[in-house]
Symmetry: C2
Subunit: 203 residues, 2 copies
Amino acid sequence: MRIYDLPASPNARRVRIFLAEKGLEIPMVPVNMMRGENQTEDYLKKNSLGRMPLLEFDDGTTISESIAICRYIEGTHPSPALMGSGALESATIDMWQRRMEFEFILPIISIFRHTAEMWKGRFVQIPEVAEQERIAVKARMEWLNKELDGKQFIAGGDYTVADITAQCAFVMAKAALDIRIPEDLENLNGWWARVTSRPSARA
Amino acid sequence: MRIYDLPASPNARRVRIFLAEKGLEIPMVPVNMMRGENQTEDYLKKNSLGRMPLLEFDDGTTISESIAICRYIEGTHPSPALMGSGALESATIDMWQRRMEFEFILPIISIFRHTAEMWKGRFVQIPEVAEQERIAVKARMEWLNKELDGKQFIAGGDYTVADITAQCAFVMAKAALDIRIPEDLENLNGWWARVTSRPSARA
């Protein structure tokens, strides 16, 4: 079993943090997107969308999509639970995971794609999209700050995959776009300190 | 238990089809977004993002996000399985569900928001985004047509939540944007005939 990894990608990082929280190691194969290694005939046979991360089993079976890979790992290594147990808890964590994905990871990746030098010529960049997404991300940080009132972690008392999704979004926002959590958002800053002090944060 | 519904929304339709496939009925409460019923103080207490669908329990607990609602229903009513059983099958179906979401539902909703009369003034419309998304959706239909080669349904031999996501995307594409599956995409047309002939398609 191996994982085709894109080290700088927030989606690939989600899987690495998930594995670190489980105390698991799976060999990582870095794929260089800038050199087109994800568009070779061989790689497209593994993932016809040419994306990373990708989990590959020894028999050639593959699973793409970071959260689907996490779901497989959760199913085979349930402890510590990062996706909940029981119908209501699992659904609640899934809701929060998806909110973090749609409100943060997607717009933050979108800002990057619409502005970054490395995407010029590979993608039709529309600067106005990035401007609108920046406004939306700022508003969503204020929303999340309120939602964190009285909670240690995003889905409640325990660290879950929803925190992983959010922290990977904020890592990219800070590192690639210089979008930082405003100082006056106390709950969000408290949460950020809690998640980034976990050893898994450096995975 | 009740579901706050937005009848024309592809996301709300996903839940209704999921319930129909399970043979379940949950009372539906339509929410009129055009009249701002989703932005009232009362509704925002239920879902601070003001979105539909939303599952509400009698004790006031709520779950938003169509797929999280489906996950709750799957957990409490496992048969017929629409999200797989076992780690590998569940992860594979999740992968396909997410691909249908990111490659179809999201761009199709985006085209609608960036062009529809009803979104004028509620949202910064950028027509160039819609143009790019139309090109992407067309290319993705060709991709999905290839992926369906030799398969009855999107994740393989059985109808799953991945089919539900895709069919709701294509319903919206056709009804709201006049984007239709090109006639020469035989596998995709065959799949479309199979899913739309199910009684649940009219849910």
